[in-house]
Structure formats: C-alpha cells, structure tokens
Amino acid sequence: MIAGLMSVSLAACGSGNSNSESSASNGGSNNGNKGEKVTIELAISKSSQDSAFVAQDLLDEFEEKTNIHVNLQLLPAEQTSTVLQTKLAVDETPDIIQYNLASATTDLNLERNFEILDNEPWVSRLLNKDVLSAYGHVYSFHVSQDTGMQGVVYNKDMFKELGLSIPQNFEEFLAVCEKIKASGITPVFMPFKDNWAANIWPAAAFADYAAKNEPALFDDLNANRKKWTDIPEFETFLQQQYDVYKKGYTNTDILSDSYDMAVGKFLNKEVAMMFMGDWLIENVAEKDPNIHLGLFAIPSSEGASLGASPLGGQLFIPKKAKHMAEAKKFLDYIATKEVAQKIVDQRKYVSIFSDVTTPELPEYKQDIVDQYITPKKTVLTTDAYMLVDRSELYRSLQDQFAGGKTPEEVLADWNDKFSQLMKDKGVSGF
C-alpha cells in the first residue's frame, strides 16, 4: 500500500519536473561526439512560439554544430510576465529569455536582472543599436530592426477612388474625413473598448512633438523636472483625437467596439482609416491580399514623423544564467552572416546587421521604408520612454471618451498616477 502510494507520488514528481529530466536524459544518451552535452533553457511566451529564434531546424543545427541542446520552456501567454518575474526572483533562471525590451524595463527590472551585451562580437555589426538598448547599453539581441510602425492605417483603394491624398496636418485630415463620410463610409474606426487603442494617436503625437521641440522632454518627465500637465501641446493632441470622434467621423459605439473587430471592418470595407500599427495591415493581408492598406503618420502637426513601436521579441540573457557562455554562443550563432541572412529572408525582416541584406519587402512595408525610414522621418513612440506600467494612462485616455474628462483632467490624472508609480519604483526626483 505504502509502496504504491510512493510510486504514485514519485511519478508525480517526475512529471512535474520534466525539464530537468529531459535535459538529463539528453545529456546521457547523446554525448557520443565531443565531450559533455550542455542543455540551455530558453523561456518564451506560448504566443511567440513561432518566433524565428526557436524554429526547430535552427535549434537542431545549433545542437549539431556546438553540442548545446536548447530546451524550450513555453510559458502561458497571459502569465508570461508573472512566471518570469517569479523565476528571476527565486533564482530558477532560464539561460535565455525572449521578451520585449520596453516591457522588460517596466516588468522585469532590466538593469538588475539582465546581462549587458555591449562587448559581444556581433554588436560592432549592428546598424541600429538603439532598438536593442536601454540605459545606454545593449541589453538584447535581434536580427531585425523593423520595430513595427504606428500611425494611421488607411485603405489605399478608397483614397484613390475618392481622389484623396495623404493629409499633412490636422486640418487636412479632418477634410479627408469629411469627404470619406460623404461617400457613406465610416472614416475612422476607434475600438476604444480596448483602452490601449486610444493611446496610438497620443503616443506618436507626443513623441513627434518632443523630438522636434524638446528633445530632453522624456528625460525631464522621468526625473520629475517636468510634469505631464506642463506641455499645452499634449492637451491639443488629446483634443484632436476627441474632435475626430465628436465631429462624427468614427463608429458610433466606440467604447463597445474592440480591437478584434478591426480586421473585419477593413475586410468589409466599412471603414477607411484607423489609428493603429502596421501589424494590422499584415493581418488584413493574410485574410485578403486584394485589399491594399497603407500607413501614414499621425497628422497631429505639419509633416509629423511616423511613430515607431519599441522593438519586440528580443532575446535576453539573465545575469544569473547557469550557462552564460553557452547562451552567448547561441546568440553568436544566430548572428552569423549565414544564419541571420536565412532568418531575415524567411521572415522578410529589415536587417539589423551591416553585412546581412534586407530582402524584398511587401508593398506597404516598402512604402514605409521609402517614405519614412530611409528619409529618417520616424520617431520612437512614448512607450519607449515609459519606465512604469502604462495601463492607467490608457484608462485615463478612455475616460476622455467615457467620462467626458477634458484633456487637462486626463493628463492630470495620469500625472498623479505616474508620479506615484515612479515614487514606488524608487526613481530619484519623485
């Protein structure tokens, strides 16, 4: 009886511990060729499991060349940050983590937990160090520098039919809306049930303003030398987005409509524009390649720059990684010209390495490269500069539409929350 119980409980232990078990058995059976086989752990959100870095053939090739086995830890998508926070806190650290740089600074305490990669051999070949860096150091790795762009997603065919050109300022934008509305199509789709969607316009507009007028603005905000309420232009930008709604250029029930309806709205040609990222264009193209969507900059001021999301899906090495050298070897391997080229070609990435060429891009992406990236008319959105959780900002933005808050009140609310969070975080000046 007792023996039976014990065997059950042992079996339970075994299954709960499958990671270490599988790594042990791999080490035992396959170590014929060169020395001891090492297994490194790579933790990645389940939602990112089609990432190029964890493709099976890549991992197999790596193992064959280096005798290092990469074991994947797939984390449930909605708990990724919590699980990683816990793993880092209890020293059950994976050797490599795939995560987003911007969220890593707010969720995972980047400086404390992750290795600085400034001296890795591949760093010298980077075309764009910024998308991998924070606090002045390279903290992460990627083969792409295409961060995803944010602006106004628009239906090119509709613009052509109605003889519209891309608006260069807010007045022109309203005029475009008016003409689209007159043709019986909803000009702008606002899915503000998802409060983050209300952040696309201000995130690009604020950043564009700062880049052109006060380059040190976000440093000042993050050091409490300035307050969010100090910049009258921010109020203007929030008022603009509200005006688009108030003038009747949007779907009527903006607080009930959610982002997951967006693809359908574009497929059915119900709407002409939306403040969103270029990932939406990709999603629509997957469903119907005959719909031509494009992206232009949020027209908050004359000739505004296109917002660039902070890059996502980078690889990080925790300071406490048990196999630091092997983890670095993995990055070196992906960074080799041949491997990086293969990934960049397959995924149609804009290459980050000077010796890896960017393949032919989809039409919309090439347009973005020609019109915004090459002439350097892009600006990192505010998200890139935010050191604390932003969900309360999104709620404040939503409140402008729900609770009739003025732009001033929205910014005041966020300013209070922001200073509280920064104070809690222990940032000096708050």
Binding site: T106, N195, T252, L255, D399, A402, G403, K425
Partner: protein
Amino acid sequence: MKISKSLYSYYLIWPALIIYSAFFVLPAIVGLFYSFTDWRLDREVIQFIGWDNFNRIFTDKTLILAIKNTFIFAIITVIGKNVLGIALAVGLNMRLKTRNLLRVIFYSPSILSVLVISIVFTPMLRSEGTINKLFEAVGLGSLSQAWLTDPSIVIWTVAAVSIWQHTGFQMAIYLAGLQSISKEYYEAATIDGAGAWKSFLKITLPLLLPAININLMLTLIGGLKVFSEVFVLTGGGPGNASQVVGTIILRAFGEGSWGLGTAINTLLFVVVTIISIPLLIFMRRKEVTE
C-alpha cells in the same frame, strides 16, 4: 455510549487541519505581514512601512471609487438575488404543470461560465444592442442606455447581470427550505382565515429563516468579493468607472505594487469578516424551530 465516543479520534482532523493551515492560515498571516511592507517588483530589499499602504487605499480616489462600487454591487445583488430568489421559489413551489421545466430554466444560468455570460451580454448591452432595441420596439426608447459604457450606470448593469445569473442558485436553496415546511401550518392558517400574503409573512418567512440566513451570507460574501463579472464585462472600465476591490487588487499586482495589492486583499478579508460574522450571529438568534 462508549462506542460512539471512541468511533472517531480527534487525530482524524489533522490532515484537514494541516492542509487548511498550509494553504489558508499561513498565507493569510504572511499576507498580513506583507501588507505592511513596500514589497514591489523592483525592490531588492523589502521594507516595513507601517500603515502607508492602508493610508494610500483611503486617499487614492480610484481605490475609494472601487470600494464604493463594491458595496453598491454587494447591496444590489444581495437584495436582488434574495427577493427574486424567494419569489421564484414560492412561485415554483406551487402546483404548476411546467414546474420542473421552469425550475431548470431559472437555474440554468448559474451553471454557465461567466465568460459565456459576457459573450452573450456584451452585444446585448451595446447602445444599438438587443435590450435598447427592445425598449424602442415597445415605445420606451427613452429608457435605452449605454449600459456598459456610461460610467454612472455601469456598476448597476454588472450587478443586474450577476442577479440574472445567480438568482436561480438562491432559488434552489429557498426551494429546499420551502419543502421542509410542513403543509399543516398552511392548512391551519387557512382554517383560521389567513390569506396567502398573511401566511407568507407569518409562516413561510419565519420558517424559511435558516435558508434566508445562508443565502444572505453567500450573496453578501460573494458580492464583496466580486471579480469575474466585472472583469469579463467591463475590465473595470470605462476608465475606472466600474472598478471593484477585486479588480483593483489585480491592477495593483499588474503594476508590480505587490505590497499594496496584498494590503487591499487583507483589507477585503477583514471587511468581509467584520460584516459577516456579527450578521451570522444576529441572524442565528432570529431563527425559529418548528
């Protein structure tokens, strides 16, 4: 006598006690400790900060709104679920042909997942949704509302959905209570000339008190601990208009303010205890036996 004394030893409660202590008592005590600290995502050293977290709960206007919403939700749902629950139970305790069918129909919402409820109700509660269309169709267009997006009514809407879902469960308990009341009382009352309303007040209600007590406790505690209905229907929005204590705790943890989140949790625990234990004692005293 002797057998009944030695049949079960007190040692048999040990397994339950150990599990209960390990998974409830211990975490509650540890939680109490952490609620007085500045435990945060980015703090390496956890510091004791006294009552700071609690001071913050009572000065942050979103947290105050959440507490207010929680009480509104709890009070509406306690009244709604119990009044409707008794009414349904009394109705379905009568000799109706469709009695069993109706019982199943009224009980069935409470076995649905709250996610399903959200998927069903969210489109119905839109401005141009079924409910407003229904009002317009019967000429009551003026009653139509932005049910889930108007900050001033959203918590009431969520409470109404919760009442719709759970009344059937309360009804089942009341039905059980009703069936334990002997018919003789009603026969005697009829002979004495008491009407239906009078026998309800003088016989049904007093003898139903044990069921009322358990239902009041269940709905009150459930109401104060509300989370899932709000989370799936509004996510606490629009803005923060429908935040309740449960969703605020999630928000605090999401922001990495673990100490604050634990403090709110502790506060909720204390409030639920302070309200429910005296209520339980008070109600017990009122119970009558047949």
